[in-house]
């Protein structure tokens, strides 16, 4: 079934540890995104990628990094996790990320707890 997969589903992490959240899509979408969802704050964009090989910063990029080596994969790395990064993380993709708008589709999310 075409769509977006994320791994892990959930994770408890000690503060200071490094963590990579994985995201893979099989829809051949050009653009991919990482959001975090926090109670009372809605979904906020962390990083985006308009096409393979390019990335950019969203609203709340500090403490996170991304890479886009190919079309399908868009991993999000927390270099040294802090408790304020406790959140639910969603990966999304859309057919285009440039001036032509297109529908965004979301993965199932990763629930991350940093202690």
């Amino acid at each position: 079934i075409a769509g977006i997969t994320q791994a892990p589903t959930s994770q408890i992490l000690a503060a200071g540890r490094r963590m990579t959240l994985r995201c893979t899509q099989d829809m051949r979408h050009n653009a991919m995104y990482w959001y975090r969802q926090d109670l009372g704050l809605g979904l906020r964009l962390i990083h985006y990628s308009n096409t393979a090989g390019t990335t950019g910063k969203g609203e709340v990029p500090d403490g996170y990094s991304v890479s886009r080596a190919n079309t399908d994969d868009f991993p999000l790395t927390l270099a040294s996790a802090v408790p304020s990064q406790t959140s639910v993380y969603f990966c999304a993709s859309s057919r285009t990320g440039q001036r032509l708008p297109s529908e965004q589709f979301f993965g199932p999310g990763t629930r991350l707890t940093v202690l």
């Binding site: 995104y33 001036r99 708008p101």
Partner: protein, 110 residues
Amino acid sequence: GIQVEQSPPDLILQEGANSTLRCNFSDSVNNLQWFHQNPWGQLINLFYIPSGTKQNGRLSATTVATERYSLLYISSSQTTDSGVYFCAVGFFGGYQKVTFGTGTKLQVIP
């Protein structure tokens, strides 16, 4: 940045009732979506509707872009409609910037 307001924030319906959810946004957009976040946390695409009217079963949506609002209609509500409904608007600012509203939490009771 663009402001997205959704109303009502909370809604309790008896099964079978109809409802209208509203999304107001503060600036021109080229992209508008409605999502349902179910009780398991999944974000489900309902409509991609930058303008006009669409229908899908018991759900329909209308966006009047020139007046900066969108409406989501739910008819004959079912308990499975419970969850949070988000409106998300987008515009191009180097990338497709999407801003989510804070949602309408819907509970449908039998």
